[in-house]
Structure formats: structure tokens, C-alpha cells
């Protein structure tokens, strides 16, 4: 009954995106459900190794959600974590190749999803942060993301917002601190587990008809002829679709060549289906030059790590377009075509990336397989995320 009321209230107050959130409703006890999920992950996902210092609780998860959606956490109150990691867009942003932060400042990389982030040991495309508990400091203080003058400034700001007293007390028996902020955000993000996809039910749930023939053919290719599984790993009792390691697919190298190559024309879609070409110089007159991205090398300074990026999980990949570390590939077909062509040959290309000789039909099957990796509880996660309106200045 309360859930129903809640859903009705949502219907009444919700703005433009209410429809998505209404497929599944989240009640006041949603954080308890989230906690259960963290302790017993959905089918196909392994158990989570929680840091000893930050065991999950419903109170932390609830506080973490509030923080994640609070636009006041940015210097000028415009940008929350969720403005880039949008629940209805697979906890990333489908609208942009690369996001914009405070005052519209450019961020050079594509926003990764935070679904199933509990399993990522090396965070960011270049793996520069080992823990969710510390990761948040980067966006909170980055000049081109949430742009706060300092971490202490944000902690102080939160401590002075009335609505945070109770939730911090409930979660920690203490007020805001850098550690506690990180712990709450981490606890919430770890609860964003999306599994029990058609693939999981087929592979781990004994439902032999959960995948159609085409998807199964795609699986054979993924684990066979196309060799994807070498990096996008699948285990015996669970699958993360990532080895957690860094590889050079040639994509990053190619983007750097394009960045350096000036001139030519740029195609621009000015209305649906209406495309015109304008000189690159015109685009440059109104744009700042794009920065370089050397990937893992920027962390290790080891030349062999140039243009290596972390293997992303392929779970929920249908929901997380556009693709690759700078979001320049729009459709899964484009990514598969990229691999089929053998990536981009150059010194340093991973030896497992080579021309695959997949027929058109095989490529279609591979894409169909990738589309079977969408978790069954996505709408539930979005509904929980929208259990309250985003925080704004009142």
C-alpha cells in the first residue's frame, strides 16, 4: 500500500522522466532490498569482497544515494554524480560522447557506467584509483567536473546542510568526514548490481531456452572464432566480462592520429537525417583543441602502457552507448566491425586483436549475444535511484 502511494506520489510530482521510474516502484524500504542484493548478488555475479573498514548497511546505502543525486555537491550547485551517471541511461550518459562538468567544461573521456562497479579493482579507464571509497575525490574536486575548491570545503558544506544530520548519524553515528563520504558513496554504488540477464539464466540458471539460436551462435563466436573472451572474461559460475587488465586495441592510438591530423571536412547532422559538411577550421574557430589521451601510461609512465585502456565489462552494454573510452563509436555494430577489421595495426597492438574474418551474419550474431547481457533488474535500480527528487537548493 505504501509502495503504491509512493508510486502515485511520484506520478504526481515527477517531471519529465517519471515514466521510466514507474515501471518498477521503490518503497521506503528500498535500501533494505539493496542491502540484500549486495549480500546475495543476482544470478551470474560473484560475491562481493567488501573492504573490512566499510561493511555495507542499509543506512550507508541510503545516505550514499542521497549524496549521489545531490546537485549541491558541486561548487555552483549544478552537477551531481547522477547528472553524468544517469540512472535511466544505464548509469552513464547516452546523450554525449564525452560529458561536460561545471560551467560546461569539457571532460575528455566517456562516462563509464557504475552498474556492477563493485567488481572493478582499478577504477577509471586508466585504472588510477584502487577503491570506490577514494574515487569520488576526483570528480568532486576536478575543475572540469564538480569544481569544488577543496575536499574540506565540500565536507564543511554538507555539514552545514540540515538535511544531512540525520542520515549521517544513522549511517555512522557521526557527522560528515572525507572517509564517511567515500564510504557512503561506495556502499550505494556497490549496490547497483545488475545481473540475471538472459545470458545468466541460460549459462548459470539452467534455462536452456533463455537464449535464442542467434544469441547462442554469438556466444560460440565470442568464446571461439572472435576471441573476445580472452579479455572480456567469462568464469565457471559467474561472469564479469572483463579481465580487469589494460590492453591496446589500436583504438586509442588511432584517435591520437586523428587528433593530430588537421584539416579536412567535418560532417554535422543539423536535423534528423540532414547532414552537411563544414571545414574543420570552422569547427576549430568555436572549439578548444581536444587533449591527448595516453591511457594507462598516464598512471604508470611506462612506455609499453601507452594507449592501453582497462577492459570494460560488457554487462548491460546495450544500455551504455556510445562506446570506447571517448565514446566515438555509437553502435555495437560499429564496435564489432572495429574488431572484425583487426583493430588498428601499429606497434604495441595486443596480439589477440587481429582480422577476424567474421561474415555479416556472424557479426549480427555477436551483437545479438551482446544484447543478451542486460540485467533483469535495471528498472528496479532506476526506481530506487529516483525514490526522491534530486536535491537542489530550497
Amino acid at each position: 500500500m505504501r509502495t503504491l502511494l509512493r508510486a502515485l506520489a511520484l506520478l504526481l510530482v515527477a517531471g519529465p522522466l517519471s515514466a521510466a521510474a514507474l515501471y518498477a516502484a521503490a518503497g521506503p524500504d528500498w535500501a533494505d532490498d539493496a542491502l540484500k542484493r549486495v549480500l546475495a548478488p543476482p544470478l551470474g555475479l560473484p560475491a562481493i569482497a567488501h573492504p573490512a573498514a566499510n561493511p555495507p548497511t542499509a543506512a550507508k546505502i541510503a545516505l550514499g544515494r542521497k549524496l549521489f543525486f545531490d546537485r549541491r555537491l558541486s561548487h555552483n550547485n549544478t552537477t551531481s554524480c547522477a547528472m553524468c551517471h544517469v540512472p535511466e541511461q544505464g548509469f552513464t550518459s547516452n546523450d554525449l560522447a564525452t560529458p561536460v562538468g561545471v560551467e560546461g567544461r569539457s571532460v575528455r573521456r566517456n562516462t563509464p557506467t557504475v552498474l556492477n562497479i563493485a567488481y572493478v579493482d582499478a577504477l577509471f579507464h586508466d585504472g588510477r584509483d584502487p577503491a570506490l571509497e577514494t574515487q569520488y575525490v576526483a570528480p568532486i574536486t576536478a575543475f572540469n567536473e564538480m569544481a569544488n575548491p577543496s575536499l574540506g570545503y565540500v565536507i564543511d558544506k554538507i555539514a552545514n546542510l540540515d538535511d544531512y544530520n540525520a542520515p549521517f548519524q544513522a549511517a555512522f553515528g557521526a557527522g560528515p568526514s572525507p572517509d564517511r563520504l567515500g564510504q557512503a558513496l561506495a556502499a550505494y554504488q556497490r549496490s547497483l548490481l545488475a545481473g540475471a540477464s538472459p545470458f545468466d539464466r541460460w549459462r548459470f540458471g539452467g534455462e536452456s531456452d533463455a537464449l535464442g539460436e542467434r544469441e547462442r551462435q554469438g556466444f560460440e563466436l565470442f568464446t571461439g572464432k572472435a576471441g573476445c573472451v580472452a579479455c572480456h572474461a567469462i568464469g565457471e559460475s559467474s561472469a564479469l566480462f572483463s579481465d580487469g587488465l589494460f590492453h591496446d586495441t589500436g583504438y586509442g592510438w588511432q584517435r591520437e592520429q586523428e587528433r593530430q591530423g588537421k584539416g579536412g571536412m567535418v560532417e554535422v547532422e543539423i536535423a534528423p537525417g540532414v547532414i552537411t559538411s563544414i571545414p574543420h577550421s570552422v569547427v576549430q574557430s568555436v572549439g578548444n583543441p581536444p587533449p591527448a589521451d595516453l591511457g594507462r601510461y598516464e598512471v604508470t609512465q611506462d612506455p609499453k602502457d601507452r594507449w592501453r585502456f582497462r577492459t570494460p565489462s560488457l554487462r548491460n552494454v546495450t544500455l551504455t552507448a556510445p562506446y570506447m573510452h571517448d565514446g566515438q563509436l555509437q553502435r555495437l555494430d560499429d564496435v564489432v566491425a572495429f574488431y572484425n577489421a583487426g583493430g588498428v595495426p601499429h606497434d604495441g597492438l595486443d596480439e589477440r586483436i587481429k582480422p577476424l574474418g567474421l561474415t555479416v551474419e556472424e557479426q549480427v550474431a555477436l551483437v545479438a549475444f551482446l544484447k543478451s547481457l542486460t540485467g533483469s533488474n535495471i528498472d528496479q535500480l532506476a526506481a530506487e535511484a529516483r525514490v526522491e527528487e534530486p536535491d537542489n537548493i530550497r
Binding site: 517531471g15 547528472m83 569539457s106 552537411t276
Partner: protein, 435 residues
């Protein structure tokens, strides 16, 4: 419900008042509900974006003296900084013309200036910082359009995903939130007839009380209007997120009636002034077209493409437009080539360009006096869309127009003066308040 009724009543009574006032209207893009400057404007208020590395870097309201013969003619006589950068953009007077509401598309702050106590020195009276919470998630207050006793404000985005889905919002002149009207979408058409798509986007709003209609246009969401323009042109996903609709509303009930298909991001809306002229223009920024929205013989409203602006394949990017009080001509600025273009619109179905002039490396806003003799231009479009480096000239330029030639009267370099990026202009005059 009670609010509805009240607004209905007030709109109806004021619809009557309007008819008498509009005949003496001045500057050609103002609300018909507003008292007018009948002769020479005395001041131009320029809502200016703070610019990193220039002056105090803050958004500010700049007042320029344009009284002929004044010792400070063509000079900045006042500048008020609000602190911080908010993506200063549009500003509009209340219907009594005593206050100027100026908005920040980024932070959603609305600054309400008293312009009647001393028109040479607007004074910040009130700041609304709760726009997003008040409205239930609308982001980016854009057009401030005077209705009797209240402001109709278009938003551009929302606090859920920074996309273009948004709302029209009403506040009382005293700054109290009244109502939010979400723009119809395919999923939630709210009873409107949809020509092709309903994207739910917003930009400008203008009314024709005589016909009880209101039009709103459509731009794009926060993540696009805040983004580096060059980056966006290359972002294929981002380019898919531009408005393609003009929405026709019932003015009294605020019910959306029809969603026209106008692809390429229709921006400014200008109604013709003539007593029986039942039409408005809008220009599409990306596709560079002029559109006519007109009531047909059967009383149905229709939107038709009526002219190209420059060479659309080069994306000249038409921005502000300004219609002459006699409905015969219209200034159209194209941002990318920095040109203003005068169109003969005496036949609204077939506008023709009859004059053009280079104003700067970039040009955005154009404002003309009611008699059309004076035309003012400013340079800035959006902080991250303006040209970069040497091409980023920031100015207010004043011209006279003799029917043949624009002649420059003065220019203020907003960078040299330490002011910032010059955006919307609004005219002020002490004569408005002396009875």
C-alpha cells in the same frame, strides 16, 4: 485549481487592456502587456557574462547611456556584478516595466533589478535561487516574458538528465512561484495534437492575446548549451539532441494544443504587430531557415518554411531576429559569419534578403527602436559557443538605419572595458515612470 481560475480571469481581463496599449508599443520584441517607450530610449541594459581573465570575471548588468547629446553618450554609466558566472543569457521586464528579471542558464539564479527608481542605475532587488526546486526540476530559466502581474519563463532543461525536456514556469511579479507547465512529449502529449514528434524542449515564448494563443520554441538541454561548441559539432550523439518543435498553447488555460514539426532548433519567436496579422516568425539555428506560423483560412494554425537564411549548408547559425514595427522588415543575425541580414517580410510567405552587413567576427543579439531608426548589436551567444582566441570579439555596437545603410554610432569593446561577454539588450527610459 483556484490558481488556474485566477490566471484565467486575469489573462482575460488583461487581454482587453492589451489591445489599447499595443498600438503605442516601442521596441519590437516586447510583450504587448508592457508600457512602452514612445520615443528615444535613454539607456541600454546589457546582461553580460563574466569571462575568465577579464575584469572581475563575474556576470553583470551593464548600463550604457544612449541619450543623444549626453556627456556620457555611448559610455558605460553603471555596472553591477552579481558574483560568479551563471551563464547570463536573457532578461525581461515585468509588465509594469519596473523590474528587469535576468536569468542564469547554468546555475538557475534569477536576478530581479529595480529599473524604475533610477533607470541609469539598476539596483538588485531580489535573487531567486530556488528555481529548480520550486518548479519540480526545470533547469535553465531563459525567456522572461511579461504577463499581467506575472512572468512566464521558459526553461531549457531539467535536473534529471540535463536533456532538453523542460517546462514553462510562472512566477508572480513579487517573485513567488506559481506554476510549472511541462512541454508536451510523445509519451505525455497532454492533449496536444502532434504533427510528427513532441520532444518536450523549450526556448522562447510569445503570446498573441487577441487570438488567445501562445507559442513556445525548442533549443537543447544543459549538456549541449553548456558544451564547447566545436566539441559538440563533432559529437554525433549530442547533435541528435536539438529541438524540432514549436508548440502552440491556449494562452488562458495554458493547455498545449498543437506541436508543429520545425526541425533544426527553432529559437526566437516574433509575432507580427498588425491588428489583423495572425502570424509569427521563428528561425531555425542549425538548418538556417525562416519559418512562418500562421492561422489559415479555416482557423487552423500551420507552420511553414518560408526562406533560407544565407547558405544553410555552411551552418551560418541564425540567432536573434527583430521584426520592424510595420511588419515589413526583419533583422536576422547569423552568428558564424558575424553578419546581420535584413529581410523584406512584407509578403510573409516569401521573405527576401535585401541587405547585409558584417558586424563583427561573431554577432548574436539585435535590438531596434520602435521607429527602426536605431539598431544595436551584441556579440555573445553562449560562453562555450563563442569563438575562441582572436576571433572572440565582445562588443555592443550602435547603428542608425536610414532605410539603406547601417551607420555606426559607437562601439564599446567589452573585453577592453573589463566587462565580459555581451548578451541581451533591453531599453530603459526615465520617461516611463514620470506619468
Amino acid at each position: 485549481m483556484i490558481l488556474r481560475l485566477l490566471s484565467l480571469l486575469s489573462a482575460m481581463t488583461l487581454a482587453l487592456v492589451v489591445q489599447t496599449v499595443s498600438l503605442t508599443a516601442d521596441e519590437t520584441c516586447q510583450s504587448p502587456y508592457m508600457p512602452k517607450i514612445t520615443g528615444q530610449e535613454q539607456f541600454v541594459y546589457v546582461w553580460t557574462l563574466g569571462m575568465e581573465g577579464v575584469g572581475d570575471e563575474s556576470d553583470k548588468l551593464v548600463t550604457v547611456d544612449v541619450r543623444p547629446g549626453s556627456k556620457t553618450f555611448g559610455k558605460v554609466v553603471n555596472s553591477h556584478s552579481v558574483g560568479g558566472r551563471h551563464e547570463a543569457h536573457h532578461a525581461g521586464f515585468t509588465a509594469d516595466r519596473k523590474y528587469l528579471w535576468a536569468g542564469g542558464l547554468d546555475t538557475n539564479n534569477i536576478y530581479i533589478y529595480d529599473v524604475h527608481t533610477d533607470p541609469s542605475k539598476p539596483k538588485l532587488d531580489k535573487t531567486i535561487t530556488t528555481f529548480v526546486a520550486d518548479t519540480g526540476g526545470a533547469v535553465g530559466p531563459h525567456t522572461f516574458y511579461a504577463l499581467p502581474g506575472r512572468m512566464m519563463i521558459t526553461a531549457l532543461s531539467n535536473d534529471k538528465d540535463n536533456s532538453g525536456r523542460t517546462a514553462l514556469v510562472e512566477y508572480s511579479n513579487e517573485g513567488k512561484y506559481i506554476a510549472t507547465h511541462w512541454v508536451p512529449t510523445d509519451k505525455d502529449p497532454r492533449g496536444a495534437k502532434i504533427e510528427k514528434v513532441a520532444d518536450g524542449y523549450g526556448y522562447d515564448v510569445r503570446v498573441l492575446p487577441r487570438k488567445n494563443v501562445m507559442l513556445s520554441s525548442s533549443f537543447t538541454g544543459w549538456s549541449n548549451y553548456m558544451m564547447d561548441f566545436g566539441q559538440m559539432l563533432k559529437d554525433e550523439e549530442a547533435m541528435k539532441r536539438f529541438g524540432q518543435t514549436v508548440t502552440l498553447w491556449d494562452l488562458h488555460t495554458r493547455q498545449p494544443k498543437k506541436v508543429f514539426h520545425v526541425p533544426g532548433s527553432p529559437l526566437e519567436i516574433r509575432w507580427a504587430w498588425g491588428d489583423d496579422a495572425n502570424y509569427a516568425y521563428t528561425s531555425t539555428a542549425l538548418t538556417s531557415k525562416l519559418w512562418l506560423i500562421k492561422e489559415d483560412d479555416k482557423g487552423e494554425w500551420q507552420a511553414t518554411e518560408v526562406a533560407d537564411i544565407g547558405d544553410p549548408s555552411k551552418i551560418p547559425l541564425p540567432v536573434d531576429i527583430s521584426i520592424g514595427a510595420d511588419d515589413k522588415t526583419m533583422w536576422v543575425n547569423t552568428f558564424m559569419d558575424g553578419k546581420t541580414r535584413l529581410f523584406d517580410v512584407s509578403n510573409p510567405e516569401a521573405p527576401k534578403q535585401i541587405y547585409e552587413k558584417q558586424i563583427g567576427n561573431q554577432v548574436n543579439m539585435v535590438s531596434q527602436s520602435w521607429d527602426g531608426d536605431r539598431v544595436y548589436f551584441t556579440s555573445s551567444l553562449l560562453a562555450n559557443w563563442d569563438k575562441k582566441g582572436d576571433q572572440n570579439d565582445q562588443y555592443l555596437k550602435a547603428y542608425t538605419w536610414d532605410g539603406k545603410e547601417l551607420k555606426e554610432q559607437f562601439e564599446i569593446d567589452f573585453v577592453k572595458e573589463g566587462l565580459g561577454r555581451a548578451h541581451i539588450m533591453r531599453f530603459g527610459s526615465s520617461e516611463l515612470y514620470t506619468g
